[in-house]
Amino acid sequence: MKPDTRTLTREFSKLTNTPSKTALSWLKQYDFDIDLACLHWAEKESKAEAEKRIHQLFDQFRSFEDANIIDFDGSAKLFETLGVSFEDPETLLISYLLESPNMGEFEREKFVHGCSTLCVTNLSDLKNVVDQKITLWKSDRTLQKAVYIYSYPLACDKGKKTLGTGVAIELLQVLLKSLFLLLDHWVNFLQSSPIIDRSLPRDTWNELWDFSVYTESSPDCSDYDFEGAWPTLIDEFVVYYRKHVLNIPEQ
C-alpha cells in the first residue's frame, strides 16, 4: 500500500466510520478521489437512512401475518391517513404510485421503491406528495394514462392475468368518466355482448385509452380503420355504435 493511499484510506475510514477494507474498496471505486468518494458515501448513507425511514413507515401499516405485506386492513388505515376513502378513485392513483400489486395490498420492496421515487421518507411528506399528485391527476394526461394502464393488472384477482368484464366496466366508469365521450355506449355494448360473461382482454383495455383519444377528434368514428391494429372488440363496438346509435345504414 502506497503511503498516500494508506493515508487516504485512514482518513476516509475515520470520516465515514467504516472499516479500512470497505474504505479501500470505496476509494478504489472513485479513483482515490477522496472528496468524490465522500460525496457519494454521504449520498448512499442518506439513501440508506431514507430507506430505513421508509421501511419504518411501511411498518406502521404492515400486516401481522406477513411482515412484508400491508394487507387489506393496513391499506384501509393507510388510505384513511392519507385523507382518502376506500371508495374514492384516488386509491387507484396511490396504488399506482406505491406499486401495489393488487387492490388493497402493498409489498415492502415495491412500496419502498415507490416512496424513493417520490422522494418521501415520512408520512407527512407522503401526504403532501399524494395531495399534489391528486391535483395533478385531474389534468395531466400522461399520469392519467399511466394510472389507467396500471389499473388493469391491479384489479385482477390475485394470481390471475385477466379481468372480468363486469369489474372492468366499473373501473372504466371511474377512470374514463369525463375522458371518453362514448363511455356509456361502450358500456351498453359490452353488456349486450357475450363478452359480458367473460374477461376483457388486457390488450383491448390498453387500446381503449387510445380509442378514447381518437373519439375526441372523431366522435362519429367516420374515418375508423377496420383493417388497422385496433382490437376486434373495438371494431365490433364501432359497428354497433354506427348502427344502433348513429343509425347509419350499413354499406
Binding site: 382482454p201 390488450d203 387500446e207 377496420f226 383493417e227 388497422g228 391494429a229 385496433w230 382490437p231 376486434t232
Partner: protein, 732 residues
C-alpha cells in the same frame, strides 16, 4: 461563175387581191359558221357541210381569226343555253308530282351535251390548238360546262327542285323502292362535271343520311330485338357501300360511312352494349361477333368492357347463389366458361381488355357467394370431380375427360379457398380408393398430375400419399398371400394399410369379431409387424366390408355388406329355426355401441332389402325388440349390396368438413403469424397483415378480420407484444 439573181415573177399573183380574196373567204366562213351554230343550237343538228366547216375553222385558226370564231361561239352558246334554260324552267313548272325534276334536267343536259359535242367536232382544230394553248380562252367543253352551271343550274327555280329530287331518289333507294337508276347516275355525272358534287351536293346528302338514319334507327331500336337491330345495322352499312359504288360517291365514302355509324351505332351506344347481357344468356355467338365488329368500326370496343363485366358478374352470382340445385352449378359454370372462351376467341378477336374483364368477373363471383354460398363453388367442383371419376367417360356425353378436367381446372384457378376444395377432394378420393369406386385409376392419376401442376406439389402431397398406400397395400397383400402365415387363414382376407398422416380421420368403431376372423386378422398383424417393425397397427372395423354367403329358403344369395352388418347376421347362425335374437342379445354378443347397432339393424330390417325381420315393427328398436331371419327373403339378383345407414347425412358431413377447414385455417394463420414474427422480430401492423396474406394466399386468402383476431389471440398468449407506433414485437 454565179449567175445573176433573176427576178422571179409569178403571173397572176396580186398580193392585194389575194388578201381581198382571203377576207372574202373568211367572211363567208364566218357566216356559214354563224348559220351552222344557229342550227346546232336550235337542236336541229348539223346535216351537211361538216367537212367544209371543219376546214374553215382550221383555216381561220391558222389565219389568226380564231378570236372571231370564238366570239361567235360565245354568242351562240349563250343564247343556246338561254333557250335550254327557258325550256327546262317551263318543264319543271308544269310538271306533275310523279315526274322527277331530276329527269327533266338530265334530259336538257343531254340535249346540251349533244349540241356541244357537235360544235366541238366542228371546232376541233381550234379547240385543240388555239383554245387549249391560250390561257385567256376556255376550251369549248369547259365553256359549255360553265355555261350550264352558271346559267341553267344556278337558276334557283331549277336548282332547288333538281337537288331535292335527286335526294328524293336516294331516299327511295334507301327505302327499298325502285327507281330510274340510269337517271340518277346521269344526275350524279352532271353534278361531278359541273363541280357541284363536293361543295353543293355532298353536304345535303350527308344531312339527308343523318336525318334518315336517325329516325330509322330510333324507330327500329324500340321495336325490334337487339340482335335483329344489329343485323339491320350491318345490312344498312353493306347496302350503303353498294350505293356508293353504283352512284359514284366513292370520294366521300369515309364521310358517308361515318355518318351512318354515328346514327346507327354511336347514338345508341348504351343500349347496344347493354344488349350483351341477352346475347350471353342466349348463348348467341353471332350477335356477340356482330356487336363487336360494329363497335370496332368506330373504335368504341372499350365501351363494351363495363357492361360485359357487369353482366358476367351478374350471371355468375345468380349461378353461385342458386341454392336449389347444387348439382348443376359446375356443369353450368363449365358451359358458361367454354362459351365465353369461344366468344372471346371468335367474336372478340382475343380483345385483351374483354378477356381480362372476363377473368376478373369469374374471380369476383366465384369467391363472392353470399354467406354459406361462399364455399359452394369449391365444394361443388370437388363433388363434380368425384362424380366424373366414379363413372368415367360414360357420363361425359362424348367429350374427352381430359378436356373437361382442363376446363374445370381453369375455373378452379379462380377459386380463392383452395383448402376447402382440398378437404372435400381428399375425403372423396379416400372413399373411392377404399371402396374401389373409381372408374379408372388412370384418370385418377391424370387429374392428380394436373392438380399438381396447377396448385403445386404441397397441395397434392397427401393425395399422392394415399395412392402410395393403396399400392403398397396391394403389394403387401400379395406377399402375405405367399407367406406361410396365410396358409392358416379361414377365409380370404384383404387389408388396406393406411398411413394416418395422409387419410382423413375415421371413427374407429368397435365390434367383437367372430373367433376365426379375429385369428385371421391377428395373423396379418403378425406378418405386418414382422416386416415393419417400427409401426403400430390400429384396426378400423367401421370401414370393413364383407361378402357373405347366405342360404335362404327361397334361394341362396351373396350379400355384399359392411363388417358390422356381417357380425350381426352371423350371430343368427346359432339360432334354431323360428328362434330369434333380441336387441339386448345382439348388443351383448357383438359389443357394438348403441348407435352403431341400431343403425346396423335398421339397415337390415327397415329399408328395401330385408334379410332380417323386426318384431314389433318400428323405426328405433328397443332392448326387447326381437329379430328373426326373414324366411321369405328373396331378390331378383344373386349378389345383393346392402348399404349401411350413415349417422350423418351428406349435408351434415359437408358441414363438418367445412368446420374442420375453418379450424385448420385458424391454426395455419396462427402458425404463419408466429413464423413471420419470429423471422422479422418487429413489424408494423400493416406489414404483418400484408406478409400473412402473402404466405397464406395459395391455400385461401384470409380475411383481415381473421388475421386481426389471430393477432389478438397471440397477444393474449403473450407471443407478441404491442409497441408504440403501431408495431408488434416477437416475445421469444
Amino acid at each position: 461563175m454565179p449567175t445573176e439573181a433573176k427576178r422571179i415573177v409569178i403571173k397572176g399573183f396580186d398580193p392585194l387581191k389575194s388578201k381581198q380574196r382571203q377576207e372574202k373567204y373568211y367572211n363567208v366562213m364566218i357566216q356559214q359558221l354563224d348559220i351552222a351554230l344557229q342550227v346546232i343550237m336550235a337542236g336541229l343538228g348539223l346535216k351537211t357541210g361538216y367537212q367544209e366547216l371543219y376546214s374553215g375553222i382550221e383555216n381561220l385558226t391558222k389565219a389568226n381569226q380564231a378570236y372571231r370564231c370564238f366570239t361567235l361561239l360565245q354568242n351562240h352558246f349563250t343564247s343556246g343555253i338561254q333557250l335550254l334554260t327557258d325550256a327546262c324552267l317551263a318543264s319543271i313548272s308544269h310538271k306533275t308530282d310523279e315526274v322527277n325534276a331530276c329527269s327533266i334536267v338530265v334530259r336538257h343536259w343531254k340535249q346540251w351535251m349533244e349540241r356541244v359535242e357537235t360544235v366541238q367536232n366542228v371546232f376541233y382544230y381550234m379547240d385543240k390548238t388555239f383554245l387549249a394553248k391560250s390561257p385567256e380562252f376556255p376550251t369549248v367543253g369547259d365553256f359549255a360546262l360553265s355555261l350550264f352551271r352558271d346559267e341553267l343550274l344556278s337558276t334557283k327555280t331549277i336548282q332547288v327542285p333538281f337537288l331535292n329530287d335527286v335526294l328524293k331518289l336516294y331516299e327511295e333507294i334507301h327505302s327499298g323502292k325502285q327507281i330510274d337508276r340510269g337517271c340518277l347516275q346521269e344526275a350524279m355525272l352532271i353534278l361531278h362535271r359541273v363541280q357541284y358534287y363536293g361543295l353543293v351536293f355532298m353536304p345535303m346528302y350527308l344531312c339527308f343520311l343523318d336525318q334518315f338514319y336517325q329516325s330509322q334507327s330510333e324507330d327500329r331500336i324500340k321495336t325490334v330485338s337487339m340482335n335483329e337491330y344489329l343485323l339491320y345495322v350491318q345490312q344498312s352499312l353493306d347496302y350503303e357501300l353498294l350505293v356508293i359504288k353504283e352512284f359514284d360517291l366513292v370520294r366521300h365514302q369515309k364521310d358517308i360511312l361515318e355518318t351512318l355509324q354515328n346514327r346507327l351505332i354511336q347514338s345508341h351506344l348504351p343500349m347496344l352494349v347493354n344488349g350483351i347481357r341477352k346475347f350471353v344468356c342466349d348463348r348467341d355467338l353471332d350477335s356477340c361477333k356482330r356487336l363487336y365488329s360494329l363497335l370496332h368500326l368506330t373504335s368504341e370496343t372499350s365501351e363494351l368492357v363495363q357492361p360485359w363485366s357487369n353482366c358476367l358478374t351478374e350471371i355468375g352470382f345468380e349461378l353461385v347463389n342458386d341454392e336449389k340445385d347444387e348439382d348443376v352449378l359446375v356443369p353450368n359454370m363449365l358451359s358458361l366458361h367454354t362459351f365465353l372462351q369461344t366468344v372471346i376467341e371468335k367474336a372478340f378477336s382475343n380483345d385483351e381488355a374483354l378477356s381480362y374483364a372476363m377473368r376478373k368477373s369469374f374471380e369476383t363471383f366465384i369467391n363472392g357467394g353470399s354467406g354459406k354460398r361462399r364455399e359452394a363453388p369449391a365444394k361443388s367442383i370437388a363433388k363434380y370431380i368425384d362424380y366424373l371419376l366414379r363413372y368415367g367417360e360414360q357420363v361425359t356425353k362424348g367429350t374427352p375427360l381430359l378436356e373437361i378436367f382442363e376446363t374445370l381446372l381453369d375455373i378452379f384457378r379462380y377459386v380463392a379457398s383452395k383448402d376447402v376444395f382440398e378437404a372435400f377432394y381428399k375425403r372423396d378420393i379416400a372413399k373411392r380408393l377404399l371402396l374401389n369406386k373409381s372408374a379408372s385409376s388412370q384418370n385418377e392419376r391424370l387429374l392428380l398430375e394436373m392438380l399438381k401442376k396447377t396448385c403445386g406439389s404441397q397441395f397434392t402431397h397427401a393425395l399422392e400419399g394415399m395412392f402410395r398406400d393403396i399400392n403398397l397395400s396391394k403389394e403387401f397383400s400379395s406377399s402375405f398371400q405367399q407367406s406361410k402365415l396365410s396358409k392358416n387363414l379361414h377365409r380370404d382376407l384383404y387389408v388396406n394399410v393406411l398411413s394416418q398422416a395422409y387419410w382423413p380421420a375415421y371413427p374407429e368403431g368397435h365390434v367383437r369379431l367372430p373367433e376365426d376372423m379375429q385369428e385371421d386378422i391377428q395373423q396379418f398383424e403378425k406378418f405386418y409387424l414382422a416386416k415393419q417393425t417400427s409401426k403400430q397397427i390400429r384396426w378400423l372395423p367401421s370401414l370393413g366390408h364383407c361378402l357373405v354367403k347366405a342360404r335362404f329358403p327361397l334361394g341362396n344369395k351373396e350379400l355384399s355388406i359392411s363388417l358390422f352388418q356381417a357380425c350381426v347376421l352371423l350371430k343368427f347362425n346359432g339360432c334354431a329355426p323360428g328362434e330369434g335374437l333380441t336387441y339386448r342379445d345382439l348388443q351383448k354378443a357383438t359389443e357394438l355401441s348403441e348407435a352403431d347397432l341400431t343403425r346396423t339393424l335398421q339397415s337390415l330390417s327397415c329399408v328395401r332389402v330385408r334379410p332380417l325381420v323386426m318384431v314389433p315393427k318400428g323405426k328405433v328398436p328397443k332392448p326387447e325388440t326381437k329379430f328373426y331371419v326373414n324366411e321369405k327373403f328373396t331378390d331378383k339378383l344373386y349378389r345383393i349390396k346392402i348399404n349401411q345407414i350413415y349417422l350423418k347425412d351428406e349435408r351434415q358431413e359437408s358441414e363438418e368438413v367445412q368446420e374442420q377447414v375453418v379450424q385448420d385455417r385458424q391454426f395455419e394463420l396462427q402458425a404463419a403469424v408466429v413464423r413471420i414474427m419470429k423471422q422479422n422480430e418487429r413489424l408494423s401492423h400493416d406489414q404483418l397483415v400484408e406478409k400473412t396474406i402473402e404466405i397464406s394466399k395459395d391455400r385461401g386468402v384470409p380475411e383481415i378480420s381473421d388475421i386481426k383476431s389471430t393477432i389478438e389471440k397471440l397477444l393474449n398468449k403473450e407471443y407478441l407484444e404491442r409497441q408504440d407506433g403501431n408495431e408488434y414485437v416477437y416475445v421469444p
